[in-house]
């Protein structure tokens, strides 16, 4: 199971990678993409949209199922990953890198402390 040490996680199988200036990338974990199977569509919010922690901000659809995306922290969307429009399979191929879903601005950076670290997430991401 691939769970990078440098990321934060949620129990909804999303990851968050902190960048500079309270910005962050968000995506779904390798465990999540593997459970969903072939991803055919990712619905991405508009830049400028704001979401509270736990709010649904998009959808990942695979051949088998549709799965909501939940915002891990209070956030404003800076941009979506435009590459996913034509190549949603990037989420399958590279869940933690080129398959990122949105770039956000953290509205309450201290919320990061409430997220899981790699070891904590590894407890959840078990078959």
């Amino acid at each position: 199971m691939n769970i990078p040490e440098n990321l934060k996680y949620t129990s909804d199988h999303e990851w968050l990678k902190l960048l500079d200036n309270d910005e962050a990338l968000i995506g779904i974990t390798d465990f999540a993409q593997n459970s969903l199977g072939d991803i055919t569509f990712v619905e991405i919010p508009e830049s400028g949209d704001s979401f509270d922690t736990g709010a649904t901000f998009g959808v990942v659809e695979s051949v088998k199922a549709a799965s909501d995306l939940y915002m891990p922290v209070d956030a404003e969307v800076l941009e979506g990953n435009a590459a996913l429009e034509d190549a949603p399979e990037l989420v399958n191929q590279s869940a933690f890198e080129t398959g990122w879903i949105v770039k956000i601005k953290l509205l309450n950076p201290e919320q990061l402390n409430g997220l899981l670290d790699a070891a904590g997430y590894a407890e959840i991401a078990k078959d």
């Binding site: 199977g37 072939d38 569509f41 619905e43 051949v63 549709a66 399958n92």
Partner: protein, 377 residues
């Protein structure tokens, strides 16, 4: 939860990384590595599917032909030994009990291949209806494993392990013979729109046969394939699936399957009057197939709209790897069948574009236009 049933190839699927799901009470692989990749491999090379969950019934007796012509919609008396035929089995009201393949083994001896989820119901139905006929109906499902080898490389792969096995074997015909040391029924049928065979074999040598086929086919691009790609392949090919395009309530008139219903055959059959009447009056509802121009899958159960009015419901929806867009089918009011249809996808209107199936150009060797598909689950 009750114990899932296993096929002679369940252990083989698990050992090869199959992702197992409960399908109609059977522990079946929905995929191995990827539904999309297994789909593409079957279109470009070959896919090997375990469909042993499907049921088999043996129908024999002095009046087997007359009995089957009574319970089935297609023309059984016109079959020759060694021929396979797609047929429906209907209720009096025209609803469908099951769709199935009939194999004529001998003059008054037939094998029926049934949907897994319907096998018990079908056997009960056949046994109820056989009174007055000199015929026996036996559930022989446990006597067979069933492998589907499908794709443009299916014949070369089979020929490489059994030279001559397909010589002179026409589409929708079968023969009994030996493959990898095992007695088999090799049938030129399938549910993918590709050339291919379905192979009935007794349970014991099934895994060994599967291994032999994999060994022979891997260099040609063969992949193990699960039920996920089986569904997307059949939908691209425009084939009906019981419980979706046909059901107890969706009749063959509505599903454009009247080519399997021989209203003019010599014998009366169950459902004939209702189907003749519905055909003459015109069905109130119809199955339409659609494209979306969008990658978003419109899933079974989604309401279909025309303008602000409810027009019906989506009955199948998947992603077409060949078209790179979502496709599906819907059961809609006939007066809306040619209107602009749409669905509401979480607040966004998505248009459905009616399309005459198949969605893809089928390989000519599958001869789709002259005969029907194999049955399904």
């Amino acid at each position: 939860m009750s114990e899932l049933r296993t096929t002679p190839l369940t252990a083989f699927a698990i050992a090869n990384g199959g992702r197992m799901v409960d399908f109609a009470g059977w522990n079946m692989p929905v995929q191995f590595e990827s539904i999309v990749e297994e789909h593409k491999a079957t279109r470009s090379a070959a896919g090997l599917f375990d469909v042993s969950h499907m049921g088999e019934a043996r129908v024999e007796g002095l009046e087997a032909t007359r009995f089957l012509d009574h319970v089935l919609t297609n023309d059984i008396s016109g079959m020759s030994i060694g021929q396979a035929l797609y047929s429906l089995m209907c209720y009096e009201n025209g609803g469908v009990v099951d769709d199935l393949l009939v194999y004529k083994l001998g003059e008054e001896s037939y094998l029926l291949c049934l949907n897994a989820a319907n096998t018990e119901k079908d056997l009960e139905w056949l046994n109820t209806k056989r009174s007055g006929f000199d015929v026996s109906v036996a559930n022989v499902s446990d006597s067979y494993a069933l492998l589907a080898l499908q794709g443009p490389k299916a014949f070369p792969i089979l020929e490489s392990i059994a030279p001559g096995a397909l010589d002179g074997l026409k589409y929708y015909h079968f023969r009994e013979g030996e493959l990898a040391g095992a007695q088999c029924i090799v049938s030129r049928t399938g549910y993918t729109g590709e050339p291919g065979v379905e192979i009935f074999v007794s349970p014991e040598p099934a895994e060994s046969l599967a291994k032999t086929l994999v060994a022979a086919g891997t260099d040609l691009g063969l992949r193990l394939a699960g039920l996920g790609s089986r569904d997307s392949l059949r939908l691209e090919a425009g084939y009906s699936l019981y419980g979706h395009e046909i059901s107890e309530t969706i009749t063959p008139v509505q599903a454009n399957l009247m080519w399997t219903v021989k209203l003019g055959k010599a014998s009366d059959f169950i459902g004939k009057a209702a189907l003749a009447e519905e055909k003459a009056a015109g069905p109130k509802k119809r199955i339409v197939f659609f494209k979306t121009g969008n990658r978003r899958i419109v899933r079974s159960g989604t309401l279909v709209l025309t303008g602000d009015r409810e027009a019906g419901v989506v009955v199948s929806g998947t992603f077409s790897p060949e078209l790179n867009e979502a496709i599906g089918s819907a059961w809609v009011d006939s007066d809306a069948a040619n209107a602009q249809l749409s669905v509401d996808m979480r607040g966004k209107e998505l248009q459905l574009f009616s399309t005459k199936p198949p969605f893809i150009t089928l390989n000519p060797q599958s001869n789709h236009t002259t005969s029907g598909p194999s049955n399904s689950t």
